[in-house]
Symmetry: C2
Subunit: 215 residues, 2 copies
Amino acid sequence: MKVKVVTNILEANDRIADENRRIFQEAGVYVINMMSGPGAGKTSLLVRTIQEMQKKVKIGVIEGDIAGTDDAERIDSLGVPVVQINTGGGCHLDANMIREVLPDMPLNDLDLLIIENVGNLVCPAEFKVGEDMKVMLLSVAEGHDKPLKYPLMFQESSALLLNKIDLLPYIDVDMAKIRKDSLSLNPKLKIFEVSCKTGQGISEWAQWLETLVKK
Amino acid sequence: MKVKVVTNILEANDRIADENRRIFQEAGVYVINMMSGPGAGKTSLLVRTIQEMQKKVKIGVIEGDIAGTDDAERIDSLGVPVVQINTGGGCHLDANMIREVLPDMPLNDLDLLIIENVGNLVCPAEFKVGEDMKVMLLSVAEGHDKPLKYPLMFQESSALLLNKIDLLPYIDVDMAKIRKDSLSLNPKLKIFEVSCKTGQGISEWAQWLETLVKK
């Protein structure tokens, strides 16, 4: 008897991610893995995106947090199916956590499933969960040195949303450097500038996302 | 022969952290493990703290980053001994990384060693490196929901610096809630409000730190 040893925790994760992806494809749902550092505005972006797209696109949300249900409650109030995962100290979502909650998500009724990862600019980028694409947020208040200091997430993401641009008059941040360094890491990265506070830039992002979902 | 099995990676780390701590105590140097999410202003706080204390306290710095040497260059320009650790993807500093660079740090000439951890509000809180105390920063732009969502770092830290208070007029953040939730997690937490941009609050923090170093 041959024993297959799974030597790599990432390899084991990728196998489950592939299974999740097959389930998503069979249900015809487009899946985003949304990542950022803490407090960059993922949940606020979700709220804005749902409000913008809700009439045309059926959206569901999986919320990942170390602790608490605040974010899921914000989403629930919009009338969108939402499931909260608490990692209990874990620094990222993995494919198995997503698999566990899929029975609670009405996949066949959805066009788009958005998975909000734990707020962490490092670890989530290493773990596929079965998504069609990874999307990342960066609060412009975090500074222009982030692409070169946290390169993996910029490399893994298909889109980068630069959030909180309403704060630009009050902070010292070189937006051209963020763009240049991000694109040097990932020339195909699609970059949006948004403010989840004022709503600026949200419709451009939502329109782009809609074309992907409707493909 | 009895084989001792180290079952727990944290246990192995703690053993090395204890050795580091003994080295620090023999050298008579007080050690801070400084943590925060990405872009909360750890390096800016270091620069301000060094400028404020440099005449009275001999300071050295160990910089932890996934990639790059920007932060170490900022510290080096202040004429302070600094060593850069690049974790190469790793999401936190551990005790062994610190042990490896100690020969490059003139411990016997120092009163205070500040270790700047990787920008991550989750993983660094789990790993002792031999420090006397952990200190954390939170940018007020990250929002008031952070204590309850990332409880461990608030529980492990002795001091919390709420940075970027110059942005308070432009953001929706409930400072009273941050204080209340932080203190509910850790009643002994010492809280400072600072702006590394304007310098506000820095001297109060530096004076408190000086009393600990001089003990």
